[in-house]
């Protein structure tokens, strides 16, 4: 056990873990807010919805589908000039937050859309029949009734970002991905690689279990 911990410390796995967590938490927070808003606009403007608007609906659908069409590693490279413009660098934690956030927004919007589609359209009609405003319906019905699914969606987003952040390690992203490239690709150090993989697997399991538990706890269905 001491040997394992020493190896962890020597290869800098804890600071890499910290960098990865920082990247995925910040990216998840921003992408969830933006993705949720895009999704709410899409839901609001869909046909037969609260405020149908063909143009806005197709625009939001296009944004969601466009974002999901581009493989992340390519998006990462394409965004380098934009990332440098926003945060001043394209490497390290700061340099990765921009592409990680932009890359996950369409995924979040899609996850939110799936959650909102679970809400019975009849329920919307029933709440409208009480004289509720559209903002009340969006918040009290769509968001609150879908909350367990949205919580699971946050967990899914974070796990997806673990994968994306690992990819970003190949282009100077840092974190566990960068560590894996350094020790696995450049130094051929399989022992360290195994430990990094174990750390990533543990992290994903903890994220999944945590969000599953929270979702189950708040789900009153």
């Amino acid at each position: 056990m001491d040997n394992v911990l020493n190896t962890f410390k020597n290869i800098g796995i804890f600071s890499a873990l910290y960098e990865t967590l920082l990247m995925i938490i910040i990216s998840t927070l921003i992408s969830f807010i933006v993705g949720l808003l895009i999704c709410l606009v899409s839901i609001l403007t869909a046909k037969d919805s609260l405020k149908p608007n063909k143009l806005v609906y197709h625009l939001t659908s296009f944004i969601i589908n466009l974002g999901r069409s581009i493989p992340f590693i390519i998006l990462l490279v394409v965004l380098i000039p934009f990332t440098r413009f926003i945060v001043g660098t394209s490497i390290g934690v700061r340099g990765m937050i921009v592409p990680l956030t932009l890359g996950s927004i369409p995924f979040v919007a899609r996850v939110c859309e799936d959650a909102f589609l679970e809400v019975d359209k009849g329920l919307i009609g029933a709440i409208k029949a009480m004289g509720a405003k559209n903002t009340t319906i969006l918040y009290e019905v769509y968001i609150k009734e879908s909350l367990p699914s949205l919580i699971r969606g946050i967990g899914l987003t974070m796990i997806m970002l673990v994968g994306y952040s690992a990819m970003s390690g190949a282009v100077g992203g840092g974190g566990l991905g960068g560590l894996a490239i350094t020790y696995g690709y450049y130094k051929f150090d399989s022992t360290s690689m195994v430990m990094i993989v174990i750390m990533i697997v543990l992290m994903v399991q903890v994220i999944q279990k945590t969000f599953d538990l929270v979702s189950k706890k708040i789900d009153k269905r």
């Binding site: 009849g122 029933a126 709440i127 409208k128 009480m130 009153k220």
Partner: protein, 247 residues
Amino acid sequence: MIRAINLTKTYPQTSNALHALKNVNLEIKKGLIYGIIGASGAGKSTLLRLLGGLEEPTTGEVLFNNKNINLLSRQEKRLMHQRKGIVFQKYYLLNQKNVFENIAFPMRISQYDNVTINQKVTDLLDLVGLKDKALEYPSKLSGGQQQRVAIARALATYPDALLLDEITSALDPFTTKAVLDLIKGIYHKQELTIILITHDIEVIKYLCDYVYVLHDGEVIENGPIKAIINQPNHPITKRLLGGINHG
């Protein structure tokens, strides 16, 4: 109180348009229980949705207290909705809110104060016999209990009229009787105007003062319940009374 004048509702489709309602005229007077009966697909739910202001007619008017509800401003329409309580077949309770909060919900939308909400919801829980279920969530309730919560919710904002859309169709006979007795009790206590949509003639017979018979989007017969039952004129009405058309 509520009047439908030459109401038509057509749903455009890829091949032929669906004429759900064709020139429907009806009048709902204050303080009576009206039944609207017809087989499945007769246009009953569409009619209720138009009377409740949930959809706009293709042509024609719906007047609520002599005002055309489709010409009201958004604010006026919201206030009008608060004057009518609607109960649907599928209850449509909010799963993430407990019974108390479900019943309180329309009052919160209408911005009643907490003291009034607490008092009114407590009274309604008593009225529908669910005082001990206040903190339960809908998933823990039976169908009949969920329907009672939906009825209590529809009564929360002191409505003038109650619109009930096939509220007993999903319930067993014993629960149906219990719910109908509850409606009867509420009617006598609160002197509401009630419009009940159903395909079940027994429900109409048990509860209603006046009935409209709907078939293929048209009112084919209407009158006081006793007159319709004793002397139905239209063959469709006779068939419905014979109980052949069920759902």
